[in-house]
């Protein structure tokens, strides 16, 4: 990073789950982005990217939400999202929603091209490395949307490798879906549970103290299953550890 370069003005889209359940992921994102030399703005009026509507087939509802989210996020140097699936909704699916609407398509594509999952942005765009520390052994689950729609695989590991004292241990089936699937987990709970049970067993067998991933939805599913089964493994969003906030309460621990 060249110190002389002007700080990019980055819009943080925190996502509805982070807003509601775990705000410290949003604050960790701000901390990491600022450490990487960005000026962070949080557009007021943000709600949800519309993924639940999109994945339920409610196209009109998804389009309506996408329009106002696009309008909110336009005009920044970059849009950064602490979730692979929400970033993929904006990057990969917003333009699909407007394939027959040229004016909105152009706006959707402009925002899409400028939208990044946070760890991909810090690693690939900013070339930034953390100088934080956490003495722990962690394992990493590759959430599906980030992995397959955005190619997020090496970026979080490169950043986590710079957290002093943190050792990463492999997770068997790290690329296998955890069974969350958004509304899938409540529409088909028995199937979701069967998948999550196997995932939890694999996480437990990794021997790690911590489970890390880049999507709060998947983390809630895996951590919730681990906790129900009495596993001692604690779960964090990877950006919390990267930003030096891995010493606080884990997901599900009262703050």
């Amino acid at each position: 990073m060249t110190p002389a370069a002007p700080a990019p003005r980055v819009a943080l889209f925190v996502t509805c789950l982070v807003d509601l359940i775990r705000p410290r992921i949003g604050f960790a994102a701000i901390r990491a982005l600022e450490a990487a030399g960005c000026t962070v703005v949080v557009p007021a009026g943000q709600t949800c990217c519309g993924q639940p509507a999109l994945n339920s087939g409610a196209r009109d509802e998804a389009i309506a939400i996408a329009r106002r989210t696009i309008a909110l996020l336009e005009g920044h140097d970059a849009v950064v999202v602490p979730s692979g699936s929400c970033a993929a909704t904006i990057r990969a699916h917003y333009p699909e929603l407007f394939e027959h609407d040229p004016a909105w398509l152009a706006r959707a594509e402009a925002v899409a091209a400028n939208t990044y999952e946070i760890m991909a942005y810090l690693d690939e765009v900013r070339g930034w490395r953390p100088d934080t520390a956490l003495a722990a052994t962690a394992t990493y689950h590759d959430s599906c949307s980030g992995l397959r729609e955005l190619g997020i695989k090496a970026q979080p590991r490169r950043l986590l490798n710079h957290v002093a004292g943190l050792s990463l241990t492999p997770l068997k089936g790290a690329e296998t879906c955890c069974g969350f699937g958004g509304t899938f987990c409540v529409k088909y709970p028995a199937i979701s549970n069967a998948i999550a049970t196997e995932k939890a067993a694999a996480i437990d067998a990794s021997g790690a103290d911590l489970l890390l991933a880049g999507d709060l939805g998947c983390l809630m599913n895996m951590a919730g299953k681990l906790h129900r089964e009495g596993s001692p493994v604690r779960a964090f969003h990877a950006i919390e550890v990267i930003a030096g906030m891995g010493d606080g309460p884990a997901i599900g621990e009262a703050s």
Partner: protein, 463 residues
């Protein structure tokens, strides 16, 4: 979730034997495929080419059908067209009756299953010998296939052993899988050699030569199709390829994706009936080209699905299939490809659960040898189901209300505040039960929200 789907899923999840059986076969297939893909450095480029070949054919399907018909006819085969499953079955039964057939030997074909051929033959009083080992097991058990490559994957060796002892004249005496396979070999040989008609599907129809290509690892297709007097092929119209050179490029991907082999053991191109001086082969060859919804799929946004070469990789790698197996899907085709095809074949109203019972994790698309965007096609069915009002009212109203609020930030902030307040009444760290979220809390704990939302704290100046 429909009651029927729910019942099938519950039965599957409650069956510990099914889980073991599915894991053994699909797990082995997954591991073998990974090795084969690693050993083929240009696999990705080969997928791109394969998808392009299939897209070319699907775009010019009528042209290649006519070309195939001309070539096959001039090689001495009879070519028939069928719009529907019923038309196809009627053509096959009429040919069998005209040939005076008492028994047919059938080489595993998913198209035969799709059109209900086993049932049609039974109704016509024609004996049927299923010659693929797995289909033989299925026939003895009077069940339906649960996988397109391993139809009997849900059966354990103990169950197979019992079936063979009940039905084979000279069953195995030793309780090993090789001994059971040997018992089937003895039993089926006479059935294959004594059949009047052999019926197969087609893996490829070669347009320029009129050849029908089948692939098997057991050799049962050849043993079923050479001795009888008549060979009948039932094939979907999307099976066309312009030439053998195009088929070869798809064959390389088919075997690797299905079993991890570089090629199936037996790959045969049949062109017309036996020639006058040939020592063996059938006197007549009939090819039934079946639409059964495919031309409509091409026009209705499902053209990419017609690329499918039926390798089974999508189901072997699907987290949902691995839990519930094939029968729970309730259609001819299970897994991700089945979840796209079944609504087209059986109607969306009866099968709307299939495109929904998917986490959209994208693994199926990643392993598909012809790059079918399965998650996109499944989303397409969800949209259609939503448009047509097939989704449950609670879901429709819930999503609509939530979307309305999500477009009104002030209201949304109030809703978030209310949700935090409401949820925190049920717990401050982990929530063990939560009304209206029992789907979640029946199986796992739910982290309670923090005391205040991110947006509120940020607005107050917290960093």
């Amino acid at each position: 979730m429909s009651a029927a789907f729910s019942k099938r899923v519950d039965a599957a999840l409650a069956d510990p034997i099914l889980k073991i059986a599915v894991e053994r076969t699909a797990g082995t297939a997954e591991a073998k495929r990974a090795i084969a893909v690693d050993a083929f450095a240009q696999f990705e480029a080969a997928r791109t080419r394969a998808a392009a070949i299939k897209d070319h054919v699907v775009a010019h399907l009528g042209y290649y059908l006519e070309q195939f018909e001309t070539a096959a006819t001039s090689a001495g085969a009879h070519v028939h067209y069928a719009r529907t499953a019923d038309e196809a079955c009627k053509i096959v039964i009429d040919i069998c009756k005209a040939a005076g057939a008492r028994t047919v030997a059938r080489s595993k074909s998913m198209m035969g299953e799709e059109i209900g051929l086993p049932h049609a033959l039974a109704e016509a009083g024609i004996g049927r010998v299923e010659t693929d080992l797995a289909e033989h097991i299925i026939q003895l058990a009077d069940e339906r296939p649960s996988h397109i490559v391993w139809p009997a994957m849900h059966k354990t060796s103990e169950q197979v052993s019992a079936l063979f002892k009940q039905h084979h004249a000279l069953p195995h005496s030793e309780e090993t899988i090789p001994a059971m396979a040997e018992s089937a070999r003895r039993h089926l040989r006479q059935g294959m050699l004594g059949a009047d008609v052999g019926i197969s599907g087609a893996n490829f129809l070669v347009a320029d030569s009129g050849a029908v290509c089948t692939v098997t690892n057991e050799g049962n297709a050849e043993l079923s199709l050479v001795p009888p007097r008549v060979h009948i092929v039932t094939a979907g119209i999307e099976k066309l390829v312009p030439s053998m050179g195009h088929a070869v490029q798809l064959l390389r991907l088919l075997a690797r994706s299905a079993t991890g082999a570089t090629l199936t053991q037996y790959t045969t191109f049949y062109t017309g009936p036996k020639r006058a001086a040939d020592p063996d082969g059938p006197d007549a060859m009939h090819i039934v080209l079946i639409d059964n919804g495919r031309s409509a799929m091409r026009e209705d946004g499902l053209a990419e699905m017609l690329r499918c070469i039926r390798c089974g990789a999508c189901m072997n790698h699907c987290v949902v299939f691995r839990q519930i197996g094939g029968h729970a899907y309730g259609g001819t085709y299970p897994g991700p490809m089945g979840a796209v095809l079944t609504p087209a074949l059986d109607g969306l109203a009866a099968s709307r659960d299939l495109p929904n019972a998917c986490t959209l994790n994208g693994k199926c698309q990643e392993v598909c040898p012809v790059k079918i965007p399965l998650p996109t096609l499944l989303r397409g069915w969800r949209e259609k189901s939503w448009r047509e009002g097939l989704e449950p009212a609670t879901m429709r109203q819930g999503i609509a209300a939530w979307a309305w609020v999500a477009q009104r930030p002030r209201l949304y902030r109030l809703a978030v505040r209310a949700a935090i307040f409401g949820m925190r009444r049920f717990g401050r760290g982990w929530i063990r039960t939560l009304p209206l979220a029992s789907g979640w809390t029946a199986h796992r704990d739910l982290p309670a929200p923090d005391s205040e939302s991110f947006m509120n704290r940020y607005a107050r100046g917290e960093r």
